[in-house]
């Protein structure tokens, strides 16, 4: 029953984003502009180094994920749409997982566009593209559980727009370090290193998912 409801919330989110794609569009635009500006700022030589390119990409992804997640919940608050879900038994339990699922798909799309842009704009050579894909998937999985958790915790706060990045980014540092090192390892041909970092990212995703599933139902009351 709960799995069905999680799927329903994820589908509802995807449909709403398709009807009003401002979260996706702003996240993709933000990532594209940030990668371009960062590459110009540090110069083409430095920006083309695997570690620097990966760091620029994942920092941009973290901000884009915060942007998309915040927009998703703003839409829920605009007409008190979230209340309709929370007032139905089981709603509180399904909201977190449903949102994480939908936003993971959305962020994967942003990562696909941002990754392609990074490869083209920074003329990157990737030694192990398959491993880079695994690290990227693991990195995408690791972001939404943390960000959705902090967005929910700050839902009742007036200054949530400023608070979410301040609260979430320090917690995301280990994920960003792991994603950066994993992507750099894949780009430079270190298969074991890339898989190790990817495993750590999946572990982060699991830990924060369990934390979110435990905390969010109470936080939504």
């Amino acid at each position: 029953m709960t799995l069905r409801r999680i799927g329903l919330i994820a589908r509802r989110e995807a449909r709403a984003e398709r009807g009003q794609p401002d979260g996706l569009v702003s996240a993709i635009t933000f990532v594209a502009v940030l990668i371009l500006v960062e590459s110009l700022t540090v110069g083409p030589l430095a920006a083309g180094q695997p570690a620097v390119a990966a760091a620029l990409f994942w920092i941009a992804m973290a901000f884009a994920a915060i942007l998309a997640t915040s927009r998703s919940f703003e839409r829920e608050l605009e007409d008190d749409a979230l209340d309709a879900l929370l007032a139905i038994p089981g709603g509180r339990d399904a909201v977190y997982a449903g949102k994480v699922l939908a936003l993971t798909a959305l962020i994967a799309l942003v990562a696909l566009v941002g990754g392609a842009l990074s490869l083209v704009l920074l003329s990157l050579d990737v030694a192990l593209p398959g491993h880079l894909a695994i690290v990227s998937i693991a990195g995408v999985l690791a972001l939404p559980p943390v960000i959705v958790l902090f967005v929910v915790l700050s839902l009742r706060l007036r200054s949530r727009g400023a608070l979410v990045p301040i609260l979430a980014l320090p917690v995301l540092v280990p994920q960003l370090v792991a994603a950066t090192n994993g992507a750099a390892a894949a780009a430079s041909g270190d298969a074991a290193g890339a898989l190790g970092w990817a495993g750590l990212l999946v572990a982060f995703a699991l830990v924060y998912s369990v934390l979110g599933l435990t905390i969010v139902p109470a936080a939504l009351e």
Binding site: Q20, D79, A84
Partner: protein, 193 residues
């Protein structure tokens, strides 16, 4: 009275202010009208019954399916009225094929039902929200200022629908500071200070 839902010694604190203090309330089939001036706690009381605000003290017992319609339409932007109601029906396990007839009964045309809700007027969004009464068919219905944004015709239809739901032995709680015509058909009028 058969009790559908109850609050015992309920106290709700928002910020540093107790909005509701030590309230005992039993709700049974029929119409209960909650009246009171602005800021008397009508909305908070309904949200407390719906479980949308926590009780600082006391107990809440609501063992039946509950539909809470707040002052806003609770429809997600980016989706049509039809899709909003279908998702909520599926979420609750109610048949989605009730959605089309329910929207039509509340005056939402098939064309408007498929438009994104942000392109509808406030009155149309309110009507679409009220169609949930006929889709989800809950035993306990909590309506917070449900006449807001409705024209005279829709207000009359809503008052008639509220009496109809009460006739089906459902428990209807209406928080409003207008529409005194509801009072004669109400089983109980609760006045908040």
């Amino acid at each position: 009275m058969n009790t559908t839902a109850s609050l015992r010694g309920a106290t709700v604190v928002l910020g540093d202010r107790a909005i509701i203090r030590d309230l005992d309330l039993d709700l049974g089939p029929g119409i209960t009208v909650i009246r009171g001036p602005n800021a008397s706690g009508k909305t908070t009381l309904l949200r407390a019954i719906a479980g949308l605000v926590p009780l600082a003290r006391g107990e809440r017992s609501v063992p039946v399916p509950t539909l809470f319609l707040g002052q806003r339409a609770q429809l997600l932007r980016g989706l049509s009225a039809r899709d909003n109601l279908r998702f909520l029906a599926a979420f609750r396990g109610a048949p989605a094929d009730r959605v089309g007839p329910a929207l039509a009964a509340w005056g939402i045309t098939a064309r408007d039902a498929t438009r994104p809700v942000e392109t509808l007027s406030a009155g149309q969004r309110r009507r679409a929200a009220l169609a949930r009464l006929d889709v989800e068919r809950c035993d306990l219905v909590l309506l917070d200022e449900p006449f807001g944004e409705l024209d005279d015709e829709a207000s009359t239809a809503l008052a008639r629908r509220i009496r109809g739901l009460a006739g089906e032995r459902r428990t209807i709680v209406v928080a409003t500071h207008g529409h005194p015509e509801l009072d004669p058909s109400a089983n109980r009028v609760v006045r908040l200070a």
